[in-house]
Symmetry: C2
């Protein structure tokens, strides 16, 4: 059980599209890149308030593999794409750990992994809309 | 005040990116296409459980104008893009009204406006994750 260093922060859900083929032809057998990314992420150590879940299609198939991240009523939700599979697990871990350390989900631009800067598919405002 | 035909359905928020320039050069003055779309949508009659709000950038700038729609813990959130401005208000109204009539946010594919079928940027699962 990891030590909870952020007791005041809302729980974070990292949602990994496990159905993504990342552009692979449909006749290729074996685990899909999205499922491989999800499995690799599940193996990593995360802050105690972060949960990793595999989900079905995030409808970002032109720019897969994809993740979505959210957490509580005060944080922006982000969708990131163009991951290639398990090889990107460390990169995702870095970006999401930084997200999870914020109250509003907004990581300063320069602190975001370059892939996150270049492959943000969309974001959705917090449930409690900013003024 | 519209009659509430759907008392059992959770409230729906239609979020319109009001900062979107829809690819216009930054030196063009006057209201932005996103703000014009938001204003046109605000003029329409909506089901009583639908609220239209203008929000800041949805980070879908390569495919703007953009909207996001969500509502309650049981519905999927969707982001749609590639609207051109106020001219698309009726189209957005049709698609969102259908969304608002569902409990889970999933409108059968053939019932979605063609633009919605072709310009779904991403979707995010309900807060209460499907099994």
């Amino acid at each position: 059980m990891p030590i909870d260093l952020a007791p005041d922060l809302a729980p974070v859900e990292l949602l990994v599209c496990a159905t993504c083929r990342a552009g692979q032809p449909t006749e290729i057998e074996g685990p899909r890149p999205g499922a491989q990314l999800g499995a690799a992420l599940a193996e990593l150590d995360w802050p105690a308030h972060v949960t990793v879940r595999e989900v079905e299609c995030l409808s970002n198939c032109d720019s897969g593999c994809s993740i979505a991240v959210r957490g509580g009523s005060e944080r922006w939700t982000y969708v990131y794409g163009n991951f290639t599979g398990a090889d990107d697990a460390a990169l995702v871990h870095e970006g999401i750990t930084k997200y999870a350390a914020t109250a509003d989900g907004i990581v300063p631009w320069r602190e975001r992994p370059v892939h996150f800067r270049k492959n943000c598919i969309a974001r959705v405002p917090p449930l409690t809309l900013p003024e």
